[in-house]
Symmetry: C2
Subunit: 303 residues, 2 copies
Amino acid sequence: MTLRIRAALLAPLIAILPLAAQAADPPATPGAVVAQAPANAWHAIPAQDLLVMTIEGGKKLVIQLAPQFGPHHVANIRTLATAHWWDGTSINRVQENYVVQWGDATEKKPLPGGLAPTSPADYVQPLGAMKARLTRLPYPDPYAPATGFVDGWPVAMDGSGEGAGAWLPHCYGMIGVGRNMSPDAGTGAELYTVIGQAPRQLDRNIAVVGRIVEGMSALTSLPRGSGELGFYTEAERKLPIISVRLASDLPQAEQPHFQVMDTTSASFADYLRLRANRKDDFYDRPAGGVDLCNAPVPVRRAP
Amino acid sequence: MTLRIRAALLAPLIAILPLAAQAADPPATPGAVVAQAPANAWHAIPAQDLLVMTIEGGKKLVIQLAPQFGPHHVANIRTLATAHWWDGTSINRVQENYVVQWGDATEKKPLPGGLAPTSPADYVQPLGAMKARLTRLPYPDPYAPATGFVDGWPVAMDGSGEGAGAWLPHCYGMIGVGRNMSPDAGTGAELYTVIGQAPRQLDRNIAVVGRIVEGMSALTSLPRGSGELGFYTEAERKLPIISVRLASDLPQAEQPHFQVMDTTSASFADYLRLRANRKDDFYDRPAGGVDLCNAPVPVRRAP
């Protein structure tokens, strides 16, 4: 059926091969690698690193935090969630091919006590001991001298020694922290996610602290704001945020369970190789490379 | 006002500086370069290269065709538009962080006569005489040995001599031609546009024939399809396409007039330099590079 075949030519980022094909053949696509990855190629994401954001209408988004790349901001985000600070705030900005931003539109809501001070020094972390868990991406990057993956996260680096600085890139679905003019580095109360081509020029200018692992389309399909920079005008409705909770603050029965692929696993190496070299039923010309933001680390609900 | 200041940190791809600032200072941002570019830095887009697509509800999208990069496909797209072939078809697929696809969901609608044969040879064009109009992008690219801009289009190349092959990359908003399995190269009747991180692995595997220059958000804000690969299921509504017309087939009074920045102009050189090196009120750390798909060539309605 042509529609199905035509569909194949635009295979999804993660496609699932039929089980029969999986049993018969070594994986030929990134999706097949993910489908066939053994249980030990996956790591559970700790509940204290997951946020559940419920928006009006009941849709839920799940966010994974990256404490090792933004320790002060992530500490503040946990404090804000535990204080239920985002409840009753809203999604205030949807800018085409750029970002969706949420937080307190009134800018008058008092912040909870105990927030950690933040600074531009938080934007880049020492690679240090993480170097032992680094999987290099061996392709050139226009924004950084070195790139790769650590602990299930994409990373850009200003070198590759232990003394190098490492930071999370502004890839699609990554979450950054709004701030005022430098040297302010933001508290973590005002957040945004990338909904277009990776705006990597923001790297090392803003704290990147996590990513959306489920429910992204609830934000990307929102009407764009007609105000400056995609902010909703007074005449436009800001979608209310019902609640934001740390999974570890939820009753056991309500806690979501997610796993991320081990970026040091053989499965992830196969996934990267095939993301960079598509040569299957549809692809005739492998690219021979892949962009850091075009090899999203596989994340799934725990089976 | 913090919201406004916070907004500044997420400046749009093309921001307009206040006129006062423009008069006083050399442009410090890509948006300021665009705002201050002289009239001779812009080229009119010919009416036969513009398509106006009207969707249900009256929203109009404007598409620019690139005949020099897909001559057979563009000839077919003009034939299809002149035959009103897309009238009454629909938007059939919206896949998160990937593509929006439109055409004849029934796959039974007869094609007009006179369509040109197409082949994979159409995916790559000789750089040839275009080399004289090439502006190189001097930053590494993970997908191609050389990149740059020709005639207002981003281009990837397998070299930089006149004998090199050149192709349009799968950047956000670019338009590709759906096809069946290779060696089929598609007619041009089934089209898609990129709505996420550039899927450059599709380059040289599919014909890229143009870009959306106005109205993109009418597609990107559509509900995602819940079917396989983001296709709408029977239970989901496919947004009807009312009409698709070549601007040159419209009455003079209804023809839209667009201009694209001359990619050999001093203004475009300034724009690229600043896209790669943001250092202004908000940015502290210039990236020192920019991705081919993150320096969209400025296009505007004729003043």
